[in-house]
Amino acid sequence: MSDQVPVTELISPIRLEYRYTPGKESSDFLRGIKEGRLTGRRCPSCRKVYFPARAVCSMCGEAFTETVEVKDTGTLVTFAVVNVNFANRTIDLPYVAAEVLFDGADTTTSVLLAGVAPEDARMGMRVKAAWLPREQWDHTLANIDHVEPLDEPDIPYEAFKELV
């Protein structure tokens, strides 16, 4: 046996296909964003507006009761400068992965920051969504290609520190 090459690896292909159900809350959001509308949902208990809405408020365990229009302007709450691309991503390096608090929402959303050099990105800066051309809109947050700086005064850290 000692002269035999040990088996150290076997390849066993795995593939499963699923028919995904976004659920009622996500479906409402996805229908809205296809039309260019940003909608959040307010928790009746803590009054926070989730954007995009989850199934229920993850703090209170309550179903949402109220739809709130969210604007496509917001505040850069935190960010990371990315210098290594993930597999299958082809964005020019370096890029800025941002967490943006869109106006009217109480939760942040992950988007790309562009239109500014990575070294000039800063927490608290005001940003605005850059949408894909209308004919490309679909049921996805990717309709917002990225956010870019908005010429407004920065928001003080104290106003959003809870989200960092």
Binding site: L10, S12, I14, L16, E17, Y18, R19, Y20, T21, P22, G23, K24, E25, S26, S27, R54, A55, V56, C57, S58, M59, C60, G61, E62, A63
Partner: protein, 351 residues
């Protein structure tokens, strides 16, 4: 041992649930279970769930589901990648510690988004068995064939199990498959996975089950009809299908002995997703159908939300004892291929 009782139970089951996601249908069941007790999640000493992310095809789906219980400020919680019956076991052990008096147990799962037969192949021994992608029905059929060839059961016995399930399920609002069916007519149906026919298989179901456990006097404070867990045990057979005698279930037999199953059982809820498995389980637990009502809910042949179906057996048995339909019940849950893992729970109504 500390006496622990089931004090509240609710469930939800449907065919393919296209509108709501798991969290959206779990939330109302949690509320429905807590409401009669006048309690909230934050009154629970411990929260534990059972589910499998492979059903949803999403990593950490079980963490998302915590949204449905409102986990802020932080709660003490745990999760088992098992049927909710094993979550109940963990809650029961946790209550034995003596420092808490209540626990919330929940289970949920959608069998419909993927091909459940293939999804379940991922729980098999990964080197030699999973690469063959044997679907759950084919494996069950191997077991059924072994049982028939052993002479311990006939195809008529399988049809009898299905017909009783369909008849009993007529009173179960959550049952998907029910009706007054003729045993002989069942045998005229074509074979699906020889020797099993389509009706020997469970339906594809989505669903959730939620339960509150309480210890000792706390249970009596919360309800006039606590259902006491007199014994609970779970055991496992070999992972290697080829090394097992598939016509018997030694792990069920042992778990039943440890849990204290005796012949004086009024109601048995056995988690047998395939008809022939009910016969194997009844034998392992020494149940006599002339003495014990077996699967009065219709069992998993009537509805089978994977990961909740075992906890539902315990809930169904408890519900009937609380309603005065009997004094002692046995509830069973299974997991793994061909009844590989088994949990047995003996329940008693308040005297």
């Amino acid at each position: 041992m500390r006496d622990v009782a089931i004090v509240s139970y609710s469930q939800y089951t449907s065919r393919r649930e296209d509108t709501r996601n798991e969290i959206e249908f779990l939330l109302p069941v949690v509320k429905e279970t807590l409401a009669p007790l006048g309690l909230t999640t934050h009154d629970m000493g411990f929260t534990v769930s059972g589910s499998s992310d492979y059903l949803a095809g999403q990593s950490f789906a079980f963490v998302s589901a915590l949204d449905a219980v409102g986990p802020w400020p932080p709660i003490a919680e745990s999760h088992v990648e098992m049927d909710g019956a094993w979550a109940l076991y963990e809650a029961w052990v946790r209550l034995q510690h003596g420092d808490i008096d209540t626990a919330l147990v929940y289970a949920f799962g959608k069998s419909s988004p993927g091909d459940i037969g293939r999804v379940l192949a991922l729980q098999l021994e990964p080197y030699m068995t999973t690469p063959l992608w044997p679907d759950a029905a084919s494996l069950a059929a191997l077991q059924a064939r072994a049982l028939l060839d052993s002479g311990k059961a006939s195809e008529k016995d399988l049809a009898r199990v299905v017909a009783r399930s369909r008849r009993s399920a007529q009173d179960n609002p959550w049952a998907q498959l029910k009706g007054d069916v003729d045993e002989a007519a069942l045998l005229d149906a074509p074979l699906f996975s020889d020797p099993l026919r389509k009706h020997d298989l469970p339906p594809v179901s989505d669903g959730a089950a939620v339960m509150v456990l309480a210890a000792g006097d706390r249970a009596r404070q919360l309800t006039a009809n606590p259902v006491w867990i007199r014994g609970i045990d779970h055991r496992i057979d070999s992972h290697a299908l080829g090394s097992r005698d598939l016509t018997v279930s030694p792990s069920t037999k042992l778990a039943g002995e440890k849990a204290g199953v005796t012949p004086d059982i009024d109601i048995a809820e056995l988690h047998a997703p395939f008809s022939h498995q009910e016969l194997i389980l009844a034998e392992a637990l020494g149940l006599d159908e002339t003495r014990t009502r077996i699967n009065p809910s219709g069992g998993a042949l009537a509805s089978n939300p994977v990961m909740a179906a075992g906890l539902i057996r315990i809930g169904e048995a408890a519900k009937r004892l609380a309603a005065g339909e009997g004094r002692r019940a046995v509830a069973h849950a299974t997991s793994g291929p061909c009844l590989q893992q088994n949990l047995v729970c003996v329940l008693e109504a308040e005297q």
